[in-house]
């Protein structure tokens, strides 16, 4: 996993002007990423009257009224809770099914292996949120419509290809020899997996679980199509967009962004391994 980091840069002869441009460019790119998020949080941390007033200040007044208004708004806490439930279920489902498949791909040579791998990669060429349309009908028939589980199943479909490919590269990075050594010392295949491979793979698996969580947390289209009463936060915000006042929108936006920021920070070490390598 660690061989993913790019090679160290070599010292280069850069002129003073060039160096200034280089750092100015970096500064601009950093501002380009951070300033819009800053604006959202300025709005979320200001009183509703400030949010709708003009002109705006570039610094929040740290008035919690907007957030309180959002928190007490009809249906918000429930939507938040639903989002968490769906995301946790997605995490469990996608890792529960994806990790065994990833392990099988990394450790065995068997007929049909390449077929399965290509199949998983191929799912990427399909717009997966569209699956929500036919599944809406299927769920009504099976009683899964408008349930947390139903939506989690669709989100698990979104996260499964990543889970398979990520755990595949994760397990491939753990030498087979370690497992073989455990076998010769009397471990069964299962024991060797639990005692040797799992501890080594666990941080990576946890990171990909967090990733599945974020995929579900952020998903809008399927959530909006499949839920009516049990809306997730994204579905709730989307469907109340044209009726809700600005402070509600921005506080809601901030509530969506904050957990994602924290999670991405938590798995930052694995970002490149997961997106970069698993995507090849």
């Amino acid at each position: 996993m660690s061989d993913v980091t790019p090679p160290a840069p070599r010292p280069e002869e850069v002129g003073r002007a060039g160096r200034f441009l280089f750092w100015a460019g970096i500064g601009l790119l950093v501002l380009w990423v951070l300033v819009p998020i800053w604006f959202l949080f300025v709005n979320a941390l200001s009183a509703p009257s400030e949010v709708t007033s003009f002109p705006k200040r570039l610094w929040p007044s740290f008035d919690m009224a907007s957030l309180q208004f959002f928190w007490n708004f009809q249906g918000v806490t429930r939507a938040l809770w639903n989002s968490v439930k769906v995301a946790v279920l997605t995490m469990i489902l996608s890792i529960g099914m994806g990790a065994p498949a990833g392990y099988a791909l990394s450790r065995f040579d068997f007929p049909g292996k390449e077929f399965f791998r290509v199949l998983v990669i191929m799912t990427r060429a399909f717009p997966l949120p569209l699956l929500a349309l036919p599944l809406a009908v299927m769920f009504i028939r099976t009683g899964l419509d408008d349930t947390v589980l139903g939506l989690a199943l669709v989100h698990a479909m979104l996260a499964l290809p990543f889970a398979v490919l990520i755990t595949y590269s994760l397990f491939s990075g753990i030498p087979v020899e370690l497992e073989e050594a455990a076998w010769t010392l009397g471990c069964t295949r299962f024991q060797a997996f639990v005692k040797v491979v799992l501890p080594l793979a666990l941080p990576g698996i946890a990171a990909s679980a967090v990733f599945a969580f974020v995929i579900s947390w952020n998903e809008v289209f399927a959530a909006a199509v499949l839920t009516i009463e049990n809306r997730t936060l994204t579905a709730f915000l989307l469907q109340s967009l044209n009726v809700s006042p600005l402070p509600l929108k921005f506080a809601g936006g901030a509530a969506l962004v904050l957990p994602a920021l924290i999670f991405i920070f938590a798995v930052r070490k694995y970002l490149f391994a997961m997106w970069g390598i698993a995507n090849r």
């Binding site: 990423v33 498949a101 199949l119 399909f126 698990a156 952020n218 989307l238 936006g253």
Partner: protein, 280 residues
């Protein structure tokens, strides 16, 4: 048992793919071509006959055509800049990667905070003395501004994913290639064009396919910034499924998005094809 083990490990994921990927896609194809239980092309003629179809189609295409190339260049610049850095590389990478964890809905709300009438763009213009009164940017009178805002929000949100894939790809290119080119007197630009870019093709492939598909699925950003004023394919799909309760036409829209996604994936695969022997 040992021979069956890999298949057993793959079983849950395969079954899941079957039920939640292949079956629903079959359903959506059938649904798009039937109406009231009979085979017909009426869904498609209704779709193309609706006045919003052609603008939804071309808006989506133009959005993709503008956003993706800009992002590709930005992602390459960001990745190259990060490669050069001696210190602070991981911090900078984290900042660049932040939008990766942000939902498209949240990204739309973030840019709404900038573009709405009492928003930050108006406030800044006011402070600079460009405008006296806040201007209405996101109205139906100026659809092109909504289009521009959507472009900016999309570029802001989804450059990170391309950057991460490209950075990981650059990490896999052996240093020796670049050093050899340097020995032969290639300038930095020549090395980038003739060495780095060709070796980066597999990563570019993935990045472009993922990104183009996301662009065809653009939905929440557009809704957050312009409601239904700026029609796009995914937004129309949602409208037909939800507001107009016509699943046949929604399925027809889904087929258009699906067709575009598969077609463009194939084009990218073909354009950036890497022969098996030339891979690193």
């Amino acid at each position: 048992m040992p021979r069956a083990l890999p298949y057993l490990l793959l079983l849950p994921a395969s079954l899941f793919l079957l039920v939640f990927f292949f079956y629903p896609f079959g359903l959506v194809i059938v649904e798009s071509m039937t109406r009231g239980g009979e085979w017909t092309t009426e869904n498609f003629s209704r779709m193309t006959g609706h006045w919003k179809f052609s603008s939804a189609f071309w808006n989506t295409i133009w959005l993709t055509a503008i956003v993706v190339p800009v992002q590709l260049v930005m992602a390459l610049v960001m990745a190259s800049v990060v490669q050069k850095l001696k210190t602070g590389r991981s911090g900078l990478l984290y900042i660049f990667a932040i939008p990766l964890g942000i939902s498209d809905l949240a990204a739309g709300l973030i840019w709404l905070a900038i573009f709405e009438q009492s928003g930050f763009l108006n406030s800044i213009l006011h402070a600079m003395g460009v405008v006296d009164q806040p201007r209405l940017f996101l109205g139906y009178q100026s659809i092109w501004v909504i289009f521009l805002a959507v472009c900016l929000a999309e570029i802001w949100r989804a450059t990170a994913i391309m950057m991460v894939i490209i950075v990981a790809g650059m990490g896999l290119i052996p240093k020796e290639y670049n050093e050899a080119a340097e020995v032969f007197g290639a300038t930095r630009w020549q090395r980038f064009i003739k060495v780095t870019l060709p070796l980066l093709r597999p990563s570019l492939q993935t990045a472009l396919i993922l990104r183009i598909l996301m662009a065809f699925e653009v939905f929440a950003v557009v809704v957050a910034l312009g409601g239904t004023t700026l029609p796009v394919l995914m937004g129309e799909t949602f409208q037909w499924q939800f507001q107009l309760q016509d699943r046949g036409v929604a399925a027809a829209y889904a087929m258009v998005i699906l067709g575009l996604s598969v077609a463009f994936s194939l084009v990218v695969l073909r354009l950036l094809h890497v022969p098996k022997g030339a891979r690193i």
